[in-house]
């Protein structure tokens, strides 16, 4: 897994590529929670993400729970179909603002 952070004046974005599983979830969690402290608008771009397990979903749920009390926003963008399917069967699609394309590209 590789993570690129983009920090702009009005939003932050994490580009996550490769495999998000229990071997990499801790790194993702650190990067995401760190980023959420900074901005109101936050985007996680999964365009290059090839694989996600429940360990990755868990991190997103932790982040969403943190954000729900702060009024900050977390958008997940550009998921490939097989990744989106994992969100769907886990009931995660309703929990996040999900966009088919990256809003800042």
């Amino acid at each position: 897994m590789e993570i690129t952070e983009i920090i702009k004046d009005n939003y932050t974005m994490l580009n996550v590529s490769g495999r998000l599983d229990s071997t990499t979830a801790t790194d993702f969690e650190k990067a995401l929670l760190n980023l959420l402290d900074l901005q109101k608008e936050n985007v996680v771009c999964f365009k290059e993400l090839k694989y996600i397990s429940s360990s990755g979903l868990r991190v997103l749920l932790v982040a969403a729970k943190k954000l729900s009390t702060t009024g900050k926003k977390l958008t997940i963008s550009a998921m490939q179909d097989h990744i989106k399917e994992v969100f769907d069967i886990s009931g995660f699609t309703e929990l996040f603002n999900i966009l088919p394309e990256n809003p800042y590209e």
Binding site: R19, D21, S22, T23, Y51, S53, S54, S55, L57, R58, L61, V62, A64, K65, S68, H82, V86, I89, S90, G91, F92, E94, L95
Partner: protein
């Protein structure tokens, strides 16, 4: 039949990923099926590694995969403490954010992505057999 023995450490997941990849190539499986097989094994083995052992010894987990009558049959044998994934309560995936539980999703995903699961405790071993049909389902 293709089998592999892995150690009970999280880095073994990378070995599982290449093993599944190879099995997929040898059997001409689609990208989606390979992804789902990887996910099934990942969720189960991660659970076993994280919660199954009370000592710090190295334990081996055996994984077998085969195709029989257009079904993929997976068998996982370990000497972890007794754990029957079928006995776990269903996690609720339609609750509001505040009530969502962190954890338990892995087994839910496994159940969604397989057609049949059989569990047996034999001596000090968990024997889990999973069947995934290759016949396309009507949605």
């Amino acid at each position: 039949m293709k089998n592999i023995s892995i150690e009970n450490k999280i880095s073994s997941l990378n070995i599982i990923a290449s093993y599944v990849e190879q099995f997929g190539e040898e059997n001409n499986l689609s990208f989606n099926i390979v992804f789902e097989l990887n996910l099934i094994l990942d969720e189960l083995i991660t659970n076993t590694i994280n919660y199954g052992y009370i000592d710090n010894e190295i334990h081996m987990i055996d994984i077998f995969m085969d195709i029989e009558n257009n079904n993929i049959v997976i068998k996982i044998i370990d000497d972890a403490k007794e754990f029957n994934p079928l006995s776990k309560d269903e996690v609720s995936t339609d609750k509001e954010l505040e009530q969502r539980q962190i954890g338990g999703l892995g087994i839910h995903i496994v159940k969604q992505k397989t057609d049949d699961i059989y569990y047996e405790r034999s001596g000090d071993r968990n024997i889990l057999k999973l069947v995934k049909s290759l016949t396309p389902k009507e949605k």
